[in-house]
Symmetry: C2
Subunit: 95 residues, 2 copies
């Protein structure tokens, strides 16, 4: 593969894995249907993306910073909604 093709592949990969979280965050926000969403997944993923952001800042790599800042925002939305759903379910059970 030529260097420019490798670079395009990297950018397409970063765009896809970042943009992917837009429809998920929107679906979760709109429907509040979080029962099939895994809390450990979004907890671990959000921590991981935050670490990627720190890594990007440490190596001063703008694409890594931008992609992970956006993903961090979107995965935090899903994580927060999941956490609210669990809290609500617990309140209903105990109440």
């Amino acid at each position: 593969m030529s260097n420019s093709l490798i670079e395009i592949t990297g950018y397409a990969a970063a765009f896809s894995t970042t943009a992917a979280f837009i429809p998920q965050a929107w679906l979760s926000w709109r429907t509040r249907d979080l029962s099939g969403i895994s809390l450990p997944m979004y907890a671990l993923f959000t921590v991981g993306v935050a670490l990627w952001l720190v890594y990007g800042i440490a190596i001063a790599c703008i694409p890594v910073i931008v992609a992970n800042a956006i993903t961090l925002m979107l995965s935090s939305v899903v994580l927060s909604l999941k956490w609210l759903q669990i809290r609500k379910a617990r309140a209903e059970t105990s109440g």
Copy 2:
């Protein structure tokens, strides 16, 4: 940040964002509760991870290859289950 701390941060980030998909794939497999899972998310994410894998092979970077090969397998499980759920729902509606 020292170089070794930056490297550890990168590995911890890669480990977290990869391992995160284990509880999600397991939850989806066990419960078949896919209604809150976004099909466009998993379609786009799986394509993105496949592109990261191609990128990793092109730059001959073992950590990128390993992390994305595992994530590709796990996200494909969730994508397949979501696709089956939609196909089943359509068959029930039309039948």
